[in-house]
Symmetry: C2
Subunit: 340 residues, 2 copies
Amino acid sequence: MIEVNAPVTMSDVARAAGVSTATVSRVVNGHYGVSARTVAQVRSAIEQLGYESSLVATSLRRSRTNVLGLVAHSFQSYTAEVLKGVMKALSRSGFDLIIYANSDLYGSYSEGWEQRHLTRLSGTLTDGCIVVTPWGDFRTRTPVVAIDPVRGSTAPSVISDNLTGATTAVEHLLGLGHRRIGFIAGRDSLASAWSREEGYRAALTAAGVPVDPTLIGRGDFNPESATPLARVLLQRPDPPSAIFAASDGMALKVLEVARELGFSVPGDLSVVGFDNIPESALTQPGLTTVDQSMYQLGYEAARMLKSLVTGEWDEPSQIVLPTSLVVRDSTAPPKSAARP
Amino acid sequence: MIEVNAPVTMSDVARAAGVSTATVSRVVNGHYGVSARTVAQVRSAIEQLGYESSLVATSLRRSRTNVLGLVAHSFQSYTAEVLKGVMKALSRSGFDLIIYANSDLYGSYSEGWEQRHLTRLSGTLTDGCIVVTPWGDFRTRTPVVAIDPVRGSTAPSVISDNLTGATTAVEHLLGLGHRRIGFIAGRDSLASAWSREEGYRAALTAAGVPVDPTLIGRGDFNPESATPLARVLLQRPDPPSAIFAASDGMALKVLEVARELGFSVPGDLSVVGFDNIPESALTQPGLTTVDQSMYQLGYEAARMLKSLVTGEWDEPSQIVLPTSLVVRDSTAPPKSAARP
DNA sequence: ACTGCAATCGTTATCGGTTACGTTTCCAGG
DNA sequence: CCTGGAAACGTAACCGATAACGATTGCAGT
């Protein structure tokens, strides 16, 4: 049954136990200076009334709350994976997690809200935050760890080795014989997008293949942003024989467009993604991609934040996680392996 | 740059603007009774100092916070889909969302924590909560909407038409000629699990096929719970020709086990799931399943909670959403269509 | 100039806890 | 019996904001 009114406060408990709220507080927090008899009385009163301390009131008065926050700008597969890693790291650690999501997911991308919510939370509700958004930096009074930070950020962060990953991916395509390789970039404010493009350029240059700017589409990591770009690339009179997309979400959209335009994959077109989200293993054909463990990203970020909060962090403030190429069915040698 | 210390409070603003905190509060909340000149002063002070009101302090004092909560016991695809629907419904509604996740995701399933967190949040931080957990009911002072509630719950809730959905699924298998149909049940505390099993039994009975208890495995909606059950069913000397799993997560595990044991799907074994999570469309073969829009579930729950909070709800307290069968590639007639 | 009513703004109690500090109780030691 | 000091507990200030209430001011009407 739901009882709509059950505002049991600490003073209710105090009254029931015949003591002051101060004593109840001491019992609840296991502080020193309460006789065993009184503790028992208070405990039983708490039990009877079903009292739980208010998170809000506690947060307001205390500096430490043992609650960490996660602020994300959207909830794609990427974020969900990160979330699992974070929860794993926090498991049995004594920290709880609050995820703050704004209600404008599909609305206007108001750049300011992360900062707004961060300041509203920090210093009160949460002891620290993990942010995973395409914007930054953030001013807070509590530690912040960024996952995939903006370019040039010096804040504590966790990031994949995007440069190596992207280089490997393009080298894989080059190794298959591809020379005209399209690229769909991510949101350029992010360090990851930048590094992945760097890797693309570096691999081409190292192989003596000139970088053709008209083969580069400017996406923003949002899957939908890739659709028109893929259409443009594939409807050219001279379409590329392979496309490297800076994220799996975008790569999957490339597959969609390819199917729609009658390209067979990997026959007519090879596609490589980046991220290795769960869907990439399941799609048909399986997507060749660069694995960055988003789970691990979340796990490390949470571990880092935890120690930052407790003040026992001594490792460098930027963690770089390795990536690895996962070859599936979306890549093959081009039909005409040789071309100027 | 991150400034670690920026505790700008309302009284800082008040001091800077040369007014009282009450006036600042009035300006912030757009209340009546402040001259245009004062508003301008306060606004500029807020701007200069970068002030944001503390969510916690506001929550403590106010009855309404315009923040809704979501309490979930795990974060599988199911929850992620629900989440998207919730966010969509809350988009541009003036409500923010806080997701409370305990850190024991993989640890002991301590049944009490949802109640604990619910009381810690309700009446202070949040105006109401959506709960999606296999336990209930909950005592709170603010409205609660349950998604897929426990059996016998009378609380406001949103649920799919599980009975019809399950019946249709089994009728589909019967129509293909299957007679030995296995079933992997969900957590029996949930109304949905109950209804789906009911549908399974009803369809069989209506077709004159006796229900064989040894063909029923007792899972709990957790994908992992299905693996050993599927193994048992398929390693029998007389395995069923089809398996209906009460959730897609479990059905996908059945596919995994089938592959492992050398069953071809749908050649040797037909598999049907329930939920239609995104993965089901991508897996190979595509999973035939009963579509319940988890997105819609979340959307409706949020819509309901919103009106409950504002006190303008007049529809029934239980919403039932339709389901529909999605036939993909995991079902086909059995090899020997006729059997006693 | 005087009254009266709005408009404007400050004072203060309050939300539910926490904690510094003060007070009382109790017992050991002199 | 008195004193000292630690243990046990209450008092009250405080965290940051809100809102009821009171006080002040300005201006119109007479």
